[in-house]
Symmetry: C2
């Protein structure tokens, strides 16, 4: 009765369309669904971490177990397993390994925010961060806006050069390294995908009309954006309470971000002018994982990509 | 790579010996292992509940998803799925469905406490509660002490009668219904396995030398024992912090229970005299689930019972 999708299967099944549709479904469900407290655990091996994100919405209920084993060498350091419960009985319904798919899921939240909040003619995308997730962000965002120039900001010049080459080689987009000030000043869309614990740039460098997606902060003490930016920007996020607890907006003082789901549902207005600065914070929530798993299971059943 | 044991398989593999050995391993590991905050979630279906208990010890790390779907009719209302992570890589290692096995696991904690704390010549076992778990408690406890008489206390006379008949019919033990005062006064070992939210009996009824196992309280507001008993008894539990937060000892004021694992490890003395009253509270912890799953996987591999 229990269905199982292996890592190899989900990696072959996932694509940006599936992930974006699943993200839209998840964000729309934030108004009515439930998410439960995040657990951060670890194994006996020093430095390891696993995270439990659980929730329910409609006929979905379950948990995503995300793990980070920093000493992995042959295997990715992050892995992800989504467990779904049968909505009618509470029994185990499906287990979906989704390490590769998880990167699509996170990038899809970014793409959804950009599609909802960024100016339609956004052409210059600046990415701060050159890690594994960053390429997924560039690919997903460039599918929802007419991006024709990617500026890459990294702490190490060689990493930024290599990443720009990968953007051009794999995605066919013009890309070049940039220093952080030039990158931020030129951005129509600015994406941060780092593990930073302090602001990456100066708020004054952000031009009117820019959309900023902060993808990195997902725990106490993490920070990518300058606090001064919040006075000039409209703030959006996935889950306001969580964003203010462990996301970027833990540094936002009394400012109250708007749930992106409410904008998607049409109950709150998103961008109101071409000169507004919009900021979206992604801290990640279980419904994204549950809708992703359900979408993978549907595609698996339909035999697509098999 | 991922191993899976279905509900039917684990139900066929589990027995009291396996569960008791797994419980001993888990309680001994409480000194060095880790348990993480318990999450209580629910689905969209009213009244449903799922609980995440996670932990790690030695080469075990993972989570037990326990679910309670009160409207189940054809299937048990409780189910249980244990997910183990590979200690070397953090990736999914095994999934074990364990609803039937979970009852053995909980009863094994009780048997371990009785074996560690009760007088050796305990012959009269009184059980308060006549639900599904109660029969498991009687069976497991009667294996570690020379029980020759079981007194059954239930809210409804017919339920107590039927349960006593089941104890005799299935376990071959003399059993009879009793009112609560007579049952408590006669008990060498007293086990409570109810969903009560207030004390089930009067503290004065407990004879010197009695061992009491409180198996029911596992959430805020639940209570089975009279607070006055704590002044006369030595208090033991599975995890002191959890027991004081969501277990029986949330009602124990400033009294500090001793971890049963410390008694098993020999670092703390258990019963010190034949007239001492010992109380054990079980609130349940993830390491019990992880060691149970590991034991089931070992037996599954060895082909026993297949």
């Amino acid at each position: 009765m229990t269905r199982f999708i292996s890592e190899a299967e989900s990696a072959a099944l996932v694509d940006d369309d599936l992930a974006l549709a699943a993200a839209r479904e998840a964000f729309l469900a934030t108004g009515t669904g439930s998410t439960f407290p995040v657990v951060i655990g670890h194994s006996s091996l020093p430095g390891t971490r696993f995270t439990l994100k659980s929730g329910s919405a409609g006929d979905l209920a379950g948990v995503k177990i995300g793990s980070f084993w920093p000493d992995n060498t042959d295997l990715p350091r992050h892995s992800s397993t989504i467990v779904l419960l049968d909505p009618a009985t509470g029994r185990l319904s499906a287990v979906v390994e989704a390490a590769a798919a998880n990167a699509y899921r996170t990038a899809a939240a970014d793409a959804l925010a950009v599609d909802t909040l960024a100016c339609k003619d956004s052409r210059t995308l600046t990415i701060i961060g050159t890690g594994h997730q960053a390429l997924h962000e560039v690919r997903a965002v460039s599918r929802v806006r007419p991006v024709d120039r990617v500026l890459v900001v990294g702490r190490r010049a060689d990493a930024a050069r290599n990443f720009a080459a990968a953007v051009t080689g794999r995605l066919g987009l013009a890309a070049e390294p940039a220093d952080v000030e030039a990158g931020v000043r030129a951005a129509d869309v600015l994406v941060t995908a780092t593990t930073a614990r302090e602001a990456l740039f100066d708020a004054d460098w952000v031009r009117p009309g820019t959309h900023v997606s902060a993808m990195g902060a997902d725990g106490p003490g993490k920070q990518e954006l300058p606090v001064a930016l919040y006075e000039r920007a409209s703030l959006f996020c996935d889950l306001p309470d969580q964003s203010r607890a462990i996301g970027e907006f833990q540094h936002a003082g009394s400012a109250t971000p708007v749930a992106l789901g409410a904008v998607l549902a049409g109950t709150v207005t998103g961008r109101t002018s071409p000169t507004e600065i919009t900021v979206f914070d992604s801290s990640g929530f279980a419904l994204q994982d549950l809708t992703l798993a359900a979408a993978l299971l549907r595609r698996h059943s339909s035999g697509v990509s098999e």
